[in-house]
Assembly symmetry: C2
Homo-oligomer: 307 residues x 2
């Protein structure tokens, strides 16, 4: 409840929206300063039976060093959240707080799924034809090995199937050049692995000019490249808004509206949101976590990686 | 004269425009099928004293394998052009033909400047505030070492000074994360070299969200990342046009209008254009080659790299 630039008011608004819209809502555990939350809750019409409050008096600031802050602030809402998740008190954990702390918590409080070499984070890509693609890794793994890209492909494919509802996701390698054998050393070595990967429908290389086109549903790359693309795409939204360029297409670059990004390859859903998240984004994050649990995404990932 | 989708008509239009606009034009060597060129020239008002024709009966197609085609077609306009350049018959070489053949020719017909580890190609980046930045490498060097990025920085800085007219170019490392020590292994190792580089004004890391902002005049990255960004930016122009999103800012993503990109780090100007180049782009390519010669860009590059 304490994460993001507008906490705890916007998280609470999101909860209100979630409870208003969803027929069978999950039980929500609100982690944060209980006095502050209770005062604020008095102004909402949220039934007491739908939530529990877990008191966490500390907050990890957006600029704090993740590992250091997690260690020094065991009573911060993020540290408490990971404790509850790791001990099975909650099934999924959502925050728009310090991204680094959320990633460090995901990697070190939880176990990676059996056989997962590197957990990964992804972003949704608004295709120019109205479709939505998935790009991963977008920053958790700056340096990758070919076998990492190959696992990102499998994990991205499972996620696209279960969450985006794409029955046979087309998986592509983000590369420079179209043919097999092109690209940097990483892509040259990853291509044959992807071609042999029986868990995915591999459609070959896509280039930078294809990222926004509907050439593939899942695009894999190292986290350096993916993060540059993600942040460039985010800046496009801001630039078009600042210049008054209004168009449906650029509305879809409002990544904040999507909710958040899950960490894939770990044992439980962790959803990381933008610091600027508003109520609607918090609602979407809760919905995403719920869908990941309902669709057994973690079990499916574990099965595909292990088999 | 035979390079690009609309050759030789558009190259000739560009020459006409160039001669109409420039007070002290260079002497132009037109390389291509002489019969075809002479027939077409009869319909233009280009004074015979301003050009010479060098007959080259062959053409390297846009889809041909660069190295193979250059070897098997010594009488192609590109092969003849590099022969004339290497033997000092011409001072600069311009083509909108097969990009790969132009790059192979640049690297193997000409010498790299003394001390240059890897020649590089760049692209202009339209900044949201109206300014123009330089991004390099954009595809010639898919895998880079830290010392390559450091040289790209020096070469980009010289180019931005001489050609873009920026007196003290701000040079940045394209990275994920703002602080020193962030990023992939390449960036972590390149940062201290850039910091110590006395030939540049290093301003630190920029991120993907800064690419289109005015944070730096020159941004260096490996050719894989740069090529992805270049092609993504090119696709933005096409997507906005296709959707009827008209705005001055996206007009500036029409990379075709810029003319072409020079290969930096070799002994003479080679300007590579887009296949779809029209007359105006050819005019701009000639102007760029002339400016590179007039501003002694090659000598300045050689001096900065050697000292």
């Amino acid at each position: 409840m304490m994460g993001g630039d507008f906490a705890p008011a916007e998280p609470l608004k999101g909860i209100q929206q979630y409870l208003d819209e969803v027929v069978a809502p999950a039980h929500l555990h609100l982690i944060g300063d209980s006095a502050q939350l209770e005062t604020l809750l008095a102004t909402y019409t949220i039934p007491a039976s739908t939530f529990s409050i877990t008191h966490a008096p500390d907050v990890i600031g957006m600029q704090e060093h993740p590992t250091k802050a997690l260690k020094e602030k065991p009573k911060s809402s993020i540290a408490v959240g990971f404790y509850l998740l790791a001990t099975g008190k909650i099934d999924a954990f959502i925050s728009a707080g310090n991204t680094g702390a959320m990633l460090v918590g995901s990697l070190y409080s939880l176990k990676p799924l059996e056989g997962v070499l590197r957990p990964t984070i992804s972003t949704l890509i608004p295709k120019e034809n109205g479709g939505t693609g998935l790009l991963l890794d977008v920053g958790l793994n700056a340096d990758c090995k070919p076998e990492h890209l190959n696992q990102f492909a499998t994990m991205g494919s499972v996620y696209a199937q279960a969450i985006l509802g794409i029955s046979q996701p087309r998986v592509a390698l983000l590369n420079i050049g179209e043919e097999e054998g092109k690209g940097n050393l990483l892509c040259q070595a990853a291509y044959p692995l992807l071609k042999e990967n029986k868990h995915i429908h591999f459609v070959g290389n896509v280039e930078g000019r294809d990222v926004l086109l509907d050439k593939a549903d899942v695009m894999v790359c190292d986290g350096f490249t993916g993060n540059i693309i993600l942040k460039l795409a985010e800046s496009l939204f801001e630039i078009t808004r600042a210049k008054g360029i209004m168009h449906d297409y650029f509305d879809r670059f409002d990544f904040e509206a999507y909710g958040g990004t899950p960490v894939l390859g770990i044992s439980k859903p962790v959803i990381i949101g933008h610091g600027i998240a508003k109520g609607n984004a918090f609602k979407n994050k809760i919905l995403l976590a719920q869908k990941m649990l309902e669709k057994d995404v973690m079990q499916k990932l574990a099965f595909e990686i292990a088999s």
